[in-house]
């Protein structure tokens, strides 16, 4: 069981052609990914409610796709409305988490706006994937510790801040780590696993921005034992997101 907890749908503004949901499906097929948690690029980089609205019908196109509701910390009333709408009825089978991007929303993790956003997603019971980069991976751990019941995933595992993951893990036991990165430094998956354990690390690709081969290659380099592989690649995510 392979669960990709960090993926996207929609066009990017770079010189690439990945806007069609067919790209997601093609990558799922080629790399044997069983479940992919996707958020709308439009929601992240421009307009969160519009992005969520655009993604919704695409989630019906392939049973492997699950939605991540994008929350803009500056538009929490609209985020509440989105969460109420999309989680109604059997919506929780389709939408399983929330996504907050720190840079595109110009909202630092150690800000009141971000705390309010995580309080909101926690109120709705959703694990929340937060973009982390550099030292703010520790800020996210502190935020999780301050919000009762919050369950957060540090997207990119801090990227260049990955050596701080061990410190972040010590600050709170309700933060998980997801390591996708377009410039992966060698050896960091093994280093992190040996310090936080397989129950705190989850597989993510950043598809369709990054080809899944990058994340699979990093996992291959870490030489996981069977129990580690099962946990990292799917078991932990299955439990956390209720898949």
């Amino acid at each position: 069981m392979i669960v990709d907890v960090h993926a996207h749908w929609g066009p990017w503004f770079f010189s690439m052609d990945v806007g069609s949901i067919d790209v997601n499906v093609d990558l799922l097929d080629r790399f044997g990914i069983d479940v992919q948690l996707v958020s709308a690029i439009e929601g992240i980089v421009y307009d969160a409610p519009a992005g969520n609205r655009s993604l919704a019908p695409h989630l019906d196109l392939d049973p492997r796709l699950r939605g991540m509701v994008v929350v803009d910390p500056r538009r929490l009333d609209e985020a509440r409305a989105d969460l109420t709408t999309y989680l109604a009825g059997d919506g929780r089978r389709r939408w399983v988490g929330a996504k907050i991007h720190t840079d595109y929303s110009r909202t630092p993790i150690d800000s009141a706006g971000m705390r309010a956003a995580v309080e909101l997603t926690t109120e709705f019971g959703l694990p929340t994937l937060v973009h982390t980069w550099g030292p703010n991976v520790v800020d996210l751990a502190d935020l999780a510790a301050q919000v009762p019941g919050a369950r957060v995933i540090a997207g990119h595992m801090g990227a260049s801040g990955w050596p701080l993951v061990a410190r972040a893990a010590e600050r709170c036991d309700r933060i998980w780590f997801e390591p996708c990165w377009s410039a992966p430094e060698a050896g960091r998956i093994r280093w992190v696993l040996d310090r936080v354990g397989p129950g705190r690390l989850m597989f993510g690709t950043d598809a369709t921005l990054i080809d899944p081969s990058v994340a699979f290659g990093a996992i291959e380099a870490a030489r996981l034992d069977p129990a580690e592989y099962a946990a990292v690649m799917g078991e932990t995510a299955t439990e956390l997101f209720g898949l």
Binding site: F14, S15, M16, D17, V18, V23, L27, R30, F31, S182, A183, P184, E185, A186, G187, A207, T208, L209, I210, D211, S213, V214, A215, F216, G217, A218, E220, A221
Partner: protein, 243 residues
Amino acid sequence: MSDAPILLDCDLLVGHDVTTGRWSRPDAVQEVLKSTGISGGLVTSLRAVHFDVPSGNAEAAEVAASNNWTACPALDLRDALGAERELERLLALPDETRPRAIRLAPTLQNVEPVYPAFGHVVKLLVAADLTVFVEGDVRTVSAPFRGIGARVVFLDTHFYHLGDFVVLAREEAGFAASTRMLTGPDSLEIVAAEVGAERLVLGCRTPFHETHSVVRRLLTSKLSPAEIALVGSHNLDRLLESA
């Protein structure tokens, strides 16, 4: 007989990465190459990049000879006069040891493309008919190479800047890119379609970057087997032979 293409890494490093404190020892590089199916490649000493060019280049030559790799001497762009002397020494070597390529590291040496030394050294290298491997952001470090018939591989071309590389490569027949960070789902394929697979060279920055990820991206790409063979090793062979 295996169908696997021959793989050479144009971006091997030995020595001390002073930015992270990590070391690259030849035996560790050899281990990564073995585990990723890479036969060898082009090696540079970080001692030459950061501290002392002649002794660093001697280290690279020794490591290359001991491991059946090819040495790629570096020049220091902070020292135009020293670069002149080192290039003169290298070009006077017997043909079997005379380098076919030179590595430049303007970012690590804090040298901007507009600095006089950068343009001066590039002109000397072009006049000597050497292939240049250059680190840094292709959008800026490409400037001194334009319009002078340079043969150059941009080692750090990110897929975010793929469009910049393609428009440069359309005008400069000698411009090529390392595959290291061309890791979007269609990055290699776009470069091949726009300017030809001849413009791509496998480069992993072994052992500091995750080599497994770079190799997987190439081998699982949608390039044809012939194109993968070009990128995997034939293009590097051609660049070194033509020098």
